[in-house]
Amino acid sequence: MPDKRITLRATRYDPEKDKAPRIQSYDIPFYDESMVVLDALNYIKSHVDGSLSYRWSCRMGICGSCGMMVNGTPKLTCNAFLRDYWPRSVTVQPLNNFPVIRDLVIDMDDFMHKLKSIKPWIIRKQELPLGVGAHYQTNEQIDDFRQFSECINCMLCYAACPVYGLNDGFLGPAAIALARRYNLDSRDQGLKERQPIIGDAEGIWECSFVGECSVVCPKGVDPAKAIQQTKLDTTMRFVLPYGNRD
Protein backbone atom coordinates (compact mmCIF):
# COMPACT_ATOMS: atom_id res chain seq x y z
CA MET A 1 0.00 0.00 0.00
CA PRO A 2 1.52 3.32 -1.03
CA ASP A 3 2.52 5.61 1.82
CA LYS A 4 0.01 8.31 2.59
CA ARG A 5 1.19 11.84 2.01
CA ILE A 6 -0.21 15.24 2.79
CA THR A 7 0.58 18.74 1.56
CA LEU A 8 1.32 21.41 4.10
CA ARG A 9 1.31 25.02 2.92
CA ALA A 10 3.10 27.30 5.34
CA THR A 11 3.62 31.04 5.39
CA ARG A 12 7.24 32.03 4.85
CA TYR A 13 8.47 35.51 5.61
CA ASP A 14 11.94 36.78 6.32
CA PRO A 15 11.71 40.55 6.87
CA GLU A 16 15.37 40.94 5.79
CA LYS A 17 14.77 39.29 2.44
CA ASP A 18 11.04 39.26 1.63
CA LYS A 19 8.82 42.20 0.81
CA ALA A 20 5.69 40.29 1.84
CA PRO A 21 4.76 36.90 3.28
CA ARG A 22 4.41 34.05 0.77
CA ILE A 23 3.10 30.51 0.90
CA GLN A 24 5.47 27.57 0.48
CA SER A 25 4.19 24.01 -0.06
CA TYR A 26 5.69 20.91 1.47
CA ASP A 27 4.69 17.36 0.57
CA ILE A 28 5.37 15.12 3.57
CA PRO A 29 4.54 11.57 4.62
CA PHE A 30 1.38 11.14 6.68
CA TYR A 31 2.78 8.13 8.52
CA ASP A 32 0.53 7.99 11.58
CA GLU A 33 -3.16 8.67 12.13
CA SER A 34 -2.30 10.46 15.38
CA MET A 35 -0.14 13.03 13.58
CA VAL A 36 -0.96 16.62 14.32
CA VAL A 37 -0.05 19.77 12.39
CA LEU A 38 2.80 20.40 14.84
CA ASP A 39 4.23 16.97 13.98
CA ALA A 40 4.09 17.96 10.33
CA LEU A 41 5.92 21.25 11.04
CA ASN A 42 8.55 19.38 13.07
CA TYR A 43 9.01 16.89 10.23
CA ILE A 44 9.51 19.74 7.78
CA LYS A 45 12.03 21.42 10.05
CA SER A 46 13.93 18.18 10.70
CA HIS A 47 13.94 16.64 7.20
CA VAL A 48 12.92 19.19 4.58
CA ASP A 49 13.55 22.81 5.46
CA GLY A 50 15.35 23.72 8.65
CA SER A 51 14.74 27.42 8.12
CA LEU A 52 11.03 27.23 8.94
CA SER A 53 10.38 29.22 12.14
CA TYR A 54 7.52 28.64 14.56
CA ARG A 55 6.83 28.45 18.27
CA TRP A 56 6.02 25.29 20.19
CA SER A 57 6.78 23.75 23.55
CA CYS A 58 4.71 21.20 25.45
CA ARG A 59 3.05 19.60 22.35
CA MET A 60 0.12 18.62 24.55
CA GLY A 61 -2.21 21.61 24.63
CA ILE A 62 -1.20 23.19 27.92
CA CYS A 63 1.49 25.79 27.18
CA GLY A 64 -0.32 27.81 24.52
CA SER A 65 2.84 28.38 22.43
CA CYS A 66 1.85 26.73 19.15
CA GLY A 67 -1.22 28.76 18.22
CA MET A 68 -1.48 29.36 14.46
CA MET A 69 -4.12 29.73 11.75
CA VAL A 70 -4.89 26.27 10.37
CA ASN A 71 -7.02 26.49 7.23
CA GLY A 72 -8.24 29.88 8.36
CA THR A 73 -9.14 28.88 11.92
CA PRO A 74 -7.02 29.76 14.98
CA LYS A 75 -5.91 26.45 16.48
CA LEU A 76 -3.25 24.92 18.67
CA THR A 77 -1.21 23.02 16.09
CA CYS A 78 -0.53 20.31 18.69
CA ASN A 79 -4.28 19.75 18.83
CA ALA A 80 -5.09 19.87 15.10
CA PHE A 81 -5.07 16.34 13.72
CA LEU A 82 -3.98 15.86 10.10
CA ARG A 83 -6.58 13.11 9.68
CA ASP A 84 -9.28 15.78 9.97
CA TYR A 85 -7.89 17.53 6.89
CA TRP A 86 -6.45 14.70 4.75
CA PRO A 87 -6.53 14.33 1.76
CA ARG A 88 -6.94 18.10 1.44
CA SER A 89 -3.91 20.27 1.97
CA VAL A 90 -3.36 22.07 5.26
CA THR A 91 -2.55 25.78 5.18
CA VAL A 92 -0.71 27.04 8.24
CA GLN A 93 -0.37 30.79 8.74
CA PRO A 94 0.64 33.02 11.64
CA LEU A 95 -2.16 34.09 14.01
CA ASN A 96 -4.39 36.84 12.61
CA ASN A 97 -4.31 40.35 14.05
CA PHE A 98 -0.69 40.20 15.20
CA PRO A 99 2.42 41.57 13.48
CA VAL A 100 4.56 38.83 11.97
CA ILE A 101 8.17 38.63 13.10
CA ARG A 102 9.16 35.75 10.83
CA ASP A 103 7.36 32.84 9.11
CA LEU A 104 4.81 31.60 11.65
CA VAL A 105 6.11 33.62 14.60
CA ILE A 106 4.10 36.64 15.71
CA ASP A 107 4.86 39.61 17.93
CA MET A 108 2.93 39.17 21.15
CA ASP A 109 4.10 42.35 22.92
CA ASP A 110 0.67 43.97 22.71
CA PHE A 111 -0.98 40.93 24.28
CA MET A 112 1.58 40.81 27.10
CA HIS A 113 1.12 44.48 27.76
CA LYS A 114 -2.65 44.08 27.96
CA LEU A 115 -2.38 41.10 30.30
CA LYS A 116 -0.14 43.04 32.64
CA SER A 117 -2.42 46.10 32.56
CA ILE A 118 -5.25 44.28 34.35
CA LYS A 119 -2.96 43.39 37.26
CA PRO A 120 -3.28 39.60 37.14
CA TRP A 121 -2.29 38.94 40.74
CA ILE A 122 -4.01 38.84 44.10
CA ILE A 123 -4.39 42.39 45.38
CA ARG A 124 -4.96 42.80 49.10
CA LYS A 125 -5.73 45.99 50.98
CA GLN A 126 -4.09 44.41 54.00
CA GLU A 127 -1.96 41.29 53.81
CA LEU A 128 -2.85 38.60 56.31
CA PRO A 129 -0.19 38.09 59.00
CA LEU A 130 1.93 35.02 58.36
CA GLY A 131 0.84 33.54 61.65
CA VAL A 132 -2.76 33.34 60.44
CA GLY A 133 -1.73 30.63 58.00
CA ALA A 134 -3.01 29.85 54.53
CA HIS A 135 -5.92 31.77 53.03
CA TYR A 136 -8.41 28.94 52.72
CA GLN A 137 -11.14 28.77 50.12
CA THR A 138 -14.12 26.46 49.85
CA ASN A 139 -14.68 24.43 46.69
CA GLU A 140 -17.63 26.72 45.89
CA GLN A 141 -15.40 29.81 46.12
CA ILE A 142 -12.90 28.20 43.74
CA ASP A 143 -15.70 27.11 41.39
CA ASP A 144 -16.70 30.78 41.06
CA PHE A 145 -13.57 31.54 39.06
CA ARG A 146 -12.20 28.12 38.10
CA GLN A 147 -13.35 28.28 34.48
CA PHE A 148 -11.66 31.64 33.88
CA SER A 149 -8.42 30.41 35.43
CA GLU A 150 -8.01 27.75 32.73
CA CYS A 151 -6.60 30.24 30.21
CA ILE A 152 -3.23 29.23 28.74
CA ASN A 153 -2.61 32.60 27.03
CA CYS A 154 -2.53 31.02 23.59
CA MET A 155 -4.01 34.15 21.93
CA LEU A 156 -6.37 32.17 19.69
CA CYS A 157 -9.19 34.37 21.00
CA TYR A 158 -7.40 37.52 19.87
CA ALA A 159 -6.84 35.99 16.43
CA ALA A 160 -10.55 35.16 16.19
CA CYS A 161 -11.87 38.48 17.49
CA PRO A 162 -12.90 40.83 14.67
CA VAL A 163 -13.17 43.72 17.15
CA TYR A 164 -9.48 43.32 18.04
CA GLY A 165 -8.70 42.94 14.35
CA LEU A 166 -10.37 46.26 13.61
CA ASN A 167 -9.13 48.06 16.73
CA ASP A 168 -5.95 46.80 18.39
CA GLY A 169 -6.62 49.14 21.31
CA PHE A 170 -9.30 46.72 22.50
CA LEU A 171 -8.26 45.08 25.77
CA GLY A 172 -9.30 41.70 24.41
CA PRO A 173 -10.95 38.48 25.55
CA ALA A 174 -8.12 36.82 27.45
CA ALA A 175 -7.19 39.91 29.47
CA ILE A 176 -10.79 40.56 30.49
CA ALA A 177 -11.38 36.92 31.36
CA LEU A 178 -8.25 36.98 33.49
CA ALA A 179 -9.40 40.17 35.20
CA ARG A 180 -12.71 38.50 36.00
CA ARG A 181 -10.84 35.49 37.35
CA TYR A 182 -9.11 37.68 39.90
CA ASN A 183 -12.16 39.82 40.64
CA LEU A 184 -14.15 36.67 41.48
CA ASP A 185 -11.37 35.26 43.66
CA SER A 186 -12.43 35.52 47.31
CA ARG A 187 -8.85 36.31 48.30
CA ASP A 188 -8.69 39.32 46.02
CA GLN A 189 -9.62 42.90 46.93
CA GLY A 190 -8.42 44.61 43.77
CA LEU A 191 -11.65 45.11 41.80
CA LYS A 192 -11.53 48.88 42.16
CA GLU A 193 -7.93 48.97 40.93
CA ARG A 194 -8.83 46.95 37.83
CA GLN A 195 -12.09 48.73 37.11
CA PRO A 196 -10.63 51.78 35.29
CA ILE A 197 -8.88 49.46 32.82
CA ILE A 198 -11.75 47.03 32.36
CA GLY A 199 -14.48 49.67 32.31
CA ASP A 200 -12.69 51.82 29.79
CA ALA A 201 -14.27 52.41 26.36
CA GLU A 202 -11.67 50.04 24.93
CA GLY A 203 -12.27 47.53 27.69
CA ILE A 204 -15.44 45.52 28.10
CA TRP A 205 -17.60 48.09 26.27
CA GLU A 206 -15.70 47.65 23.01
CA CYS A 207 -16.90 44.05 22.87
CA SER A 208 -20.04 43.51 20.81
CA PHE A 209 -20.41 39.81 21.67
CA VAL A 210 -19.39 38.20 18.42
CA GLY A 211 -18.59 35.12 20.51
CA GLU A 212 -15.92 33.67 18.23
CA CYS A 213 -13.36 33.91 21.05
CA SER A 214 -15.26 31.29 23.00
CA VAL A 215 -15.70 29.10 19.92
CA VAL A 216 -11.95 28.85 19.30
CA CYS A 217 -10.81 28.68 22.93
CA PRO A 218 -9.11 25.28 23.38
CA LYS A 219 -9.58 25.24 27.16
CA GLY A 220 -13.27 26.14 27.46
CA VAL A 221 -12.60 29.43 29.24
CA ASP A 222 -15.56 31.11 27.50
CA PRO A 223 -14.10 34.63 27.51
CA ALA A 224 -17.27 35.97 25.87
CA LYS A 225 -19.18 34.93 28.98
CA ALA A 226 -16.58 36.61 31.19
CA ILE A 227 -16.90 39.86 29.26
CA GLN A 228 -20.70 39.95 29.26
CA GLN A 229 -20.90 39.08 32.95
CA THR A 230 -18.37 41.80 33.70
CA LYS A 231 -20.54 44.26 31.76
CA LEU A 232 -23.54 43.30 33.86
CA ASP A 233 -21.62 43.47 37.14
CA THR A 234 -20.10 46.82 36.24
CA THR A 235 -23.50 48.24 35.34
CA MET A 236 -25.14 46.96 38.52
CA ARG A 237 -22.35 48.44 40.63
CA PHE A 238 -22.99 51.78 38.93
CA VAL A 239 -26.79 51.68 39.15
CA LEU A 240 -27.47 50.18 42.55
CA PRO A 241 -27.25 52.28 45.68
CA TYR A 242 -24.01 51.39 47.48
CA GLY A 243 -23.27 49.14 44.48
CA ASN A 244 -19.72 50.42 44.38
CA ARG A 245 -18.98 49.56 47.98
CA ASP A 246 -16.02 47.37 48.81
Binding site: E140, G165, S208, Q228
Partner: protein
Protein backbone atom coordinates in the same frame (compact mmCIF):
# COMPACT_ATOMS: atom_id res chain seq x y z
CA UNK B 1 -8.52 43.44 8.30
CA UNK B 2 -10.15 43.27 4.88
CA UNK B 3 -13.57 44.87 4.44
CA UNK B 4 -15.10 41.47 3.69
CA UNK B 5 -13.89 39.91 6.96
CA UNK B 6 -17.47 39.15 7.95
CA UNK B 7 -17.98 36.86 4.93
CA UNK B 8 -15.11 34.54 5.88
CA UNK B 9 -16.92 32.53 8.52
CA UNK B 10 -20.55 31.65 9.09
CA UNK B 11 -20.34 32.86 12.68
CA UNK B 12 -19.12 36.29 11.61
CA UNK B 13 -21.83 36.54 8.95
CA UNK B 14 -24.68 35.76 11.35
CA UNK B 15 -23.17 38.17 13.87
CA UNK B 16 -23.33 40.99 11.31
CA UNK B 17 -26.92 39.97 10.41
CA UNK B 18 -27.77 40.09 14.12
CA UNK B 19 -26.32 43.58 14.45
CA UNK B 20 -28.03 44.69 11.22
CA UNK B 21 -31.47 43.71 12.52
CA UNK B 22 -31.39 46.84 14.68
CA UNK B 23 -31.68 49.04 11.58
CA UNK B 24 -35.07 47.87 10.20
CA UNK B 25 -36.42 47.68 13.75
CA UNK B 26 -35.34 51.26 14.46
CA UNK B 27 -36.99 52.45 11.22
CA UNK B 28 -40.14 50.51 12.06
CA UNK B 29 -40.28 52.10 15.53
CA UNK B 30 -39.83 55.62 14.17
CA UNK B 31 -42.55 55.03 11.58
CA UNK B 32 -44.86 53.59 14.25
CA UNK B 33 -44.27 56.58 16.55
CA UNK B 34 -45.05 58.91 13.63
CA UNK B 35 -48.33 57.11 13.07
CA UNK B 36 -49.26 57.39 16.74
CA UNK B 37 -48.33 61.07 16.74
CA UNK B 38 -50.49 61.82 13.70
CA UNK B 39 -53.52 59.92 15.03
CA UNK B 40 -56.08 61.54 17.32
CA UNK B 41 -57.33 58.34 18.83
CA UNK B 42 -56.85 54.60 18.66
CA UNK B 43 -59.83 54.36 16.28
CA UNK B 44 -58.22 56.95 14.02
CA UNK B 45 -54.93 55.10 14.25
CA UNK B 46 -56.46 51.84 13.16
CA UNK B 47 -58.25 53.56 10.26
CA UNK B 48 -55.08 55.34 9.19
CA UNK B 49 -53.05 52.16 9.26
CA UNK B 50 -51.23 52.26 5.99
CA UNK B 51 -50.90 49.16 3.82
CA UNK B 52 -47.29 50.15 3.26
CA UNK B 53 -46.67 50.06 6.99
CA UNK B 54 -48.32 46.65 7.17
CA UNK B 55 -46.04 45.33 4.45
CA UNK B 56 -43.00 46.87 6.13
CA UNK B 57 -44.06 45.33 9.43
CA UNK B 58 -44.20 41.90 7.84
CA UNK B 59 -40.77 42.54 6.33
CA UNK B 60 -39.38 43.51 9.76
CA UNK B 61 -40.97 40.59 11.61
CA UNK B 62 -38.23 38.00 10.81
CA UNK B 63 -35.56 40.53 11.80
CA UNK B 64 -37.38 41.13 15.10
CA UNK B 65 -37.76 37.43 15.74
CA UNK B 66 -34.09 36.71 14.98
CA UNK B 67 -32.95 39.64 17.10
CA UNK B 68 -35.10 38.48 20.02
CA UNK B 69 -34.12 34.83 19.63
CA UNK B 70 -30.37 35.57 19.69
CA UNK B 71 -30.67 38.10 22.52
CA UNK B 72 -32.70 35.81 24.77
CA UNK B 73 -30.55 32.77 23.94
CA UNK B 74 -27.51 34.63 25.20
CA UNK B 75 -29.18 35.60 28.47
CA UNK B 76 -27.92 32.40 30.06
CA UNK B 77 -24.36 33.45 29.29
CA UNK B 78 -24.75 37.01 30.49
CA UNK B 79 -26.78 36.51 33.66
CA UNK B 80 -24.95 34.86 36.51
CA UNK B 81 -27.39 33.99 39.29
CA UNK B 82 -27.07 32.06 42.49
CA UNK B 83 -29.96 30.54 44.39
CA UNK B 84 -29.22 29.23 47.88
CA UNK B 85 -25.49 29.49 47.11
CA UNK B 86 -25.86 27.30 44.00
CA UNK B 87 -25.46 28.69 40.48
CA UNK B 88 -28.70 28.69 38.49
CA UNK B 89 -28.33 26.72 35.25
CA UNK B 90 -28.02 28.83 32.12
CA UNK B 91 -30.77 26.69 30.52
CA UNK B 92 -33.18 27.69 33.28
CA UNK B 93 -32.33 31.36 32.83
CA UNK B 94 -32.86 31.14 29.05
CA UNK B 95 -36.13 29.24 29.51
CA UNK B 96 -37.50 31.92 31.85
CA UNK B 97 -36.50 34.63 29.38
CA UNK B 98 -38.36 32.91 26.54
CA UNK B 99 -41.34 32.23 28.81
CA UNK B 100 -41.49 35.91 29.73
CA UNK B 101 -41.22 36.87 26.05
CA UNK B 102 -44.04 34.59 25.02
CA UNK B 103 -46.14 35.68 28.01
CA UNK B 104 -45.64 39.37 27.26
CA UNK B 105 -46.44 38.80 23.58
CA UNK B 106 -49.70 37.05 24.47
CA UNK B 107 -50.72 39.81 26.88
CA UNK B 108 -49.89 42.64 24.46
CA UNK B 109 -51.57 40.79 21.57
CA UNK B 110 -54.71 40.27 23.66
CA UNK B 111 -54.78 43.95 24.65
CA UNK B 112 -54.38 45.12 21.06
CA UNK B 113 -57.17 42.86 19.82
CA UNK B 114 -59.45 43.83 22.74
CA UNK B 115 -58.87 47.56 22.22
CA UNK B 116 -59.51 47.27 18.50
CA UNK B 117 -63.00 45.79 19.01
Amino acid sequence: MPANWWTRRGHYFWYVVREFTSLPLAIWLLWFLLQIYSANSYQTLSKQFLPAFAVFSIFCLPFALYHSWTFLSLAGTIIHLKLLDRPVSSRVIVATQFAAWIGASVVIGFLLVWLAR
